[in-house]
Symmetry: C2
Subunit: 134 residues, 2 copies
DNA sequence: TTTAAAATTGTAATCATTACAAATATGATT
DNA sequence: AATCATATTTGTAATGATTACAATTTTAAA
């Protein structure tokens, strides 16, 4: 599927800016920050504003087109791959790697030396799940 | 074990401030932010500075006495419970709950409605694990 | 006590992110 | 094609969590 249709599938109207940002995330599997995306895309599209990057990434996340990753305290990262996988960040170089989830009990950690594992779920707690949205 | 000895065990010299902050984390299992800790402790110890809170939480984390949680983009949270457990944040109320890890393949999600699961590991990648520390 | 090192403090700076209002683009309707 | 309403984009200014830094205070050894 092309990028335009991918956005439409997620109920996102495909503007030029949105396609450029989504394309960037599909082609750069480095879990970039908003600023990294801005710096790179700004070379190609000098009128693109950083606010648009932020707005767009928020919209993409809300519509399930990308993942927002809170891996470290420095800044938020974005992932165009929404399939089921885990992440590992190297404490020394800061790079974020994808890890393949083999089964509920097994994750392929490759040649990384794992020091710590965090599991974070998001959803609704008992109280909040019973409140009506509006 | 008392708080003082807990800190000593983690190679942390137990000053008054450090004991107060560690005590706070042991007694408040709400995954507080640095600011929440500051506001509460400042009532008891009006001379305590926010910088000390940050310095101390950083030291505690480096020495494995507390966990630093990057759960959402707003701010960092801290957990005095370093035992193996998972977290779940309610998207509506923002509260962070502890989840019990029953086995490698099973986490007790209680009555929460889980929407998304993230697994984040920290450690050293292949390149960096072969570099000597100094 | 003297003295050096460690810890704490307050203020100022940093920097990622957001708020906001103006400008532009889009798309339907006449 | 002109008009109009709505959505999108933009630039600037504000926000707010965290950190840098230098001064002060505490600690503990000599």
């Amino acid at each position: 599927m092309n990028t335009k249709d991918y956005l439409i599938t997620h109920n996102i109207k495909p503007s030029m800016q949105r396609i450029a940002i989504m394309d960037y995330l599909i082609n750069h599997k480095t879990h970039p920050t908003a600023d990294e995306i801005f710096v790179d895309l700004n070379k190609l599209y000098p009128t693109l504003s950083k606010t648009t990057i932020y707005n767009t990434l928020k919209l993409f996340t809300e519509n399930g087109a990308v993942l927002t990753l809170n891996i470290d305290e420095k800044n938020v990262r974005f992932d165009g791959d929404t399939s089921n996988h885990a992440h590992m960040q190297c404490t020394r170089c800061g790079k974020v790697y994808d890890l393949k989830i083999i089964s509920d009990a097994e994750i392929e950690v490759a040649n990384h030396e794992i020091v710590e594992t965090q599991i974070i779920m998001k959803g609704y707690c008992e109280k909040c799940r019973n409140i009506n949205n509006n």
